[in-house]
């Protein structure tokens, strides 16, 4: 189907009243969890997954996708107003956004954040629209060895593109790989590490693990801290940016959109990396890099554009290859599978309603978000004033209900609480949970495809370098590994010498 015809067909479905309603619920919930520090989009998606069992798959994905990109909008509000990222991807927006707010320009920052998000969100969709069908044709060439090399690339990125300690990220990725081996061996069907527990025969559940690591652990961590509640007292005005703001922001938005989209496509990256890279790029090309961090609009517009373009990019490998690039995408994958839809090269031809209606709904959702975040920003500020004493018990209750609903098993609740405690300890000792969860998701895919490759090649390892796509990814993974490991050795050597002298 031609892209424009497809899009029109998609709008036909997306404009159905119930789809509009679920799209609205999605972006509303997304904004809410984006605004509230604590629960991120992955946790929120896991919570709402059971709600989608009874509805049509396209409607379900429309809502769940809405939560994802909606959270990207909402996160900036909290970053700008109280210097706490409402959602991990907005951490960069704090740098200049909060400084702008302190200078009395909160309105411009909020306005530009929403506008940059809108432009990036809608423009990047064209990328998804035109590239996904092309990519899907290309995806048929993807056999087991290509998956192996691509996932290897992703796993290298996971452990070396994190924001904290590389060693810790690497350790967490290894933990995730180990956790992923629980369950049935994908090639020979042997039971592994289930300790005779029937519930572990299919592996540890993705949803309880994500809810524990990203939901419950946040609650535990926040219980310990005295929350900073210094919301700006003054009234927010002048939401519409000035002409000067527009001039300063045009290029950062364009660069941020392109960057965010392509970073989104790569497995193992997340929107934090996209916005971090955008900030770094803006600082590098700027004529006045020293002003970054003092409250300039470029520092808000670029990263906000990047983290809103990311979701569009991330849909490409999910829909055409069935590879989730991050935890949120893994949950979208799970919800597609629950509805009996296997993402892959034929998704667009076999379930065109899902593909096109989800894209169309993202245009509608972005419009809704612009309305929700510009005129109604005052409402979200009020939400921030609700004491956490009311929020946390409610979120915890929803987590308990949500993890039970997926499999109606008490065991899942125990898994969730266990990972809540693990996640809490990880936060306390500055271990990131993203590498763990990504390795947990990608690890079993890696193993399965690695062993399948060897069955296909009748045991020859040459299959990985003989196939061109696979060879390119392997080379890329090797380069990435060398590039990221080299500085570690350079730094260490003088230190070691001084120790011995």
């Amino acid at each position: 189907m031609h892209a424009i015809d497809g899009l029109m067909y998609g709008f036909g479905i997306a404009f159905l009243p119930h789809n509009l309603l679920f799209c609205f619920i999605g972006v509303l919930v997304g904004t809410l969890i984006g605004v509230l520090p604590g629960l991120g989009p992955a946790g929120a998606l896991a919570l709402l997954l059971p709600v989608t069992f009874g509805i049509a798959p396209s409607t379900a994905i429309i809502m769940l996708a809405g939560i994802y990109y909606g959270a990207m909008y909402g996160g900036s509000t909290t970053s700008i107003l109280i210097n706490i990222p409402g959602e991990a991807a907005s951490v960069i927006t704090c740098l200049d956004g909060y400084q702008m707010a302190r200078k009395g320009r909160a309105g411009s920052a909020l306005g530009m954040a929403a506008i940059a998000s809108f432009i990036a969100g809608t423009v990047s969709l064209f990328g998804l629209l035109f590239l996904a069908p092309t990519f899907a044709n290309f995806a048929l060439e993807f056999s087991a060895p290509e998956f192996v090399s691509l996932i290897l690339c992703g796993l290298v990125l996971v452990s070396f593109l994190g924001s904290g300690s590389r060693l810790k990220a690497f350790m967490m990725a290894c933990m995730g790989l180990l956790l992923g081996t629980i369950g049935t061996d994908p090639i020979e069907g042997m039971d592994r590490f289930n300790f005779g527990i029937t519930y572990l025969m299919d592996g540890a559940g993705l949803i309880p693990v994500i809810m524990g690591l990203f939901g419950v652990s946040e609650i535990f961590a926040n219980l310990e801290e005295q929350q900073f509640r210094g919301i700006l007292k003054e009234k927010i005005k002048n939401l519409w940016p000035t002409l000067q703001d527009w001039q300063d922001s045009t290029w950062p938005i364009i660069r941020g959109t392109v960057l965010g989209f392509f970073v989104g496509v790569i497995p193992g990256t997340n929107t934090v990396i996209a916005s971090m890279m955008s900030y770094a790029v803006e600082k590098k090309v700027s004529k006045h890099p020293e002003k970054f961090g003092t409250g300039i609009i470029e520092g808000v517009a670029g990263p906000e554009a990047a983290n809103n373009a990311g979701p569009s990019g991330a849909f490409i490998p999910l829909l055409s290859l069935g590879i989730p690039t991050n935890a949120t995408m893994a949950l979208l994958l799970a919800s597609l599978m629950i509805h009996g839809i296997t993402p892959g090269p034929f998704l667009i031809t076999q379930s065109p309603d899902i593909f096109w209606s989800v894209i169309a709904s993202m245009y509608i959702g972005n419009l809704m978000l612009l309305a929700l975040n510009l005129p109604l920003v005052g409402l979200w500020v009020q939400v921030l004033k609700i004491p956490y004493t009311f929020f946390y018990p409610v979120i915890l209750l929803f987590c308990l209900l949500g993890s039970y609903c997926v499999g109606t098993a008490i065991f899942d609740i125990a898994v969730m609480i266990f990972f809540g405690i693990v996640g809490f300890l990880m936060k306390k000792f500055a271990y990131e949970s993203t590498p763990l969860i990504l390795a947990f998701i990608l690890g079993p895919m890696f193993e399965e495809n690695f062993r399948r490759s060897l069955v296909l090649s009748f045991g020859s390892f040459r299959i990985f370098i003989e196939r061109p796509i696979s060879a390119v990814f392997l080379a890329l993974a090797t380069i990435l590994l060398i590039v990221s490991v080299l500085p570690m050795f350079k730094k260490r050597r003088p230190a070691a010498r001084s120790k011995w002298n």
Partner: protein
């Protein structure tokens, strides 16, 4: 261990026999019609041992709606996924055999005996009726040199292990099907497990393997899209969706195999109740709403009564006993 299991099963059978005699006796005392007339007095729980929204779940939900209309009491679907269905099978088997807890099982229950470290014996259930049957379809890529089954098998025979067949998972029904085909025709295939029937079909379309033996529903969209070609179907009769495709039987190969879904009750559920449910199911399967749903999803429409279903289970177990030890599956 094996001795224990054997004595255990003997004891179980004796117990079953004793109970059946008692049950028949008591029925004669009370009078079967009276018991049947009283059932159902309250809502019936239907356990689906797989996640909500999946294929079996959808079939169960449609059936539950139709049974509800016929029986006049609510039929509530409860999903109990986990352990490849084991969690749900165990719960159905452990439920009170009063007809108020029923469930769905599939071929995988019989297969688990050979592939999983623990399994639920089908002898702990009593079949109500078979509600769906999907045969194996031997499919190749549309630009494959093999136009007929004979050509494909002749090549495979001349080149042992060179023909790679994708299946839906190690020890799953389509793996067993391909192996059974191999043993019936004296051919050795290389079996390549995928994460499900759809990815297995896509692997053929992508040219990564030579053939697959998944269901017509799973290859159907790709066949219609011109990517795959079905050479033969392992059913007794030709598939109405693919009337031009011959069966293996027509080709002189005694190979029928497929995946089925059945409505089941715990063992020792009163015969009258099972009979009443069986009648309700038969009626439900004839409803246009059910037929339409099955057609839309490419699912094979079939019905078998309680006795025939039990015979099918026993036959499947016999077939699998012969095939599975040769598959190279590891079991702990």
């Amino acid at each position: 261990m094996s001795k224990d299991r054997k004595t255990d099963s003997v004891a179980r059978r004796l117990r079953f026999l004793a109970f059946s005699i008692l049950a028949i006796g008591s029925l004669q005392l009370v009078g079967a019609p009276a018991a049947a007339a009283a059932y159902p007095e309250k809502e019936i729980t239907l356990i689906v041992p797989w996640a909500a929204g999946g294929g079996t779940d959808l079939v169960a939900r449609i059936l539950a709606n139709l049974l509800e209309k016929d029986l006049g009491k609510p039929v509530v679907v409860v999903n109990k996924p986990g352990g490849g269905g084991l969690v749900g099978f165990n719960q159905i088997a452990a439920a009170k055999p009063d007809g108020y807890t029923i469930g769905v099982n599939s071929t995988s229950q019989i297969l688990q005996k050979y592939s999983a470290s623990s399994y639920a014996d089908w002898r702990n259930l009593s079949p109500i009726a078979l509600i769906n049957l999907d045969p194996a379809a031997f499919a190749v890529k549309s630009d494959s040199p093999w136009k007929t089954l004979e050509e494909a098998l002749a090549f495979a025979k001349a080149n042992p292990m060179k023909v790679r067949i994708s299946n839906s998972g190690p020890g799953a029904i389509w793996h067993v099907s391909a192996a059974l085909l191999g043993s019936k025709t004296g051919v050795q295939f290389t079996h390549v497990p995928y994460g499900g029937g759809n990815p297995a079909a896509v692997a053929v379309a992508g040219g990564h393997v030579e053939a697959t033996t998944v269901s017509p529903a799973e290859v159907g969209p790709l066949v219609k899209g011109g990517k795959l070609r079905i050479l033969a179907i392992a059913s007794a009769k030709r598939d109405p969706l693919f009337p031009d495709v011959p069966t293996f039987k027509e080709k002189g190969i005694d190979f029928t195999m497929g995946v089925w879904r059945c409505l089941v009750a715990p063992k020792d559920t009163p015969k009258a109740i099972v009979a009443q449910l069986e009648k309700s199911v038969e009626k439900a399967l004839r409803e246009p709403a059910f037929k339409e749903f099955m057609e839309k999803n490419g699912l094979g429409q079939a019905f078998m009564n309680s006795a025939d279903t039990a015979a099918l289970w026993a036959q499947d177990e016999k077939d699998m006993e012969k095939i599975i030890p040769g598959l190279g599956l590891k079991k702990n």
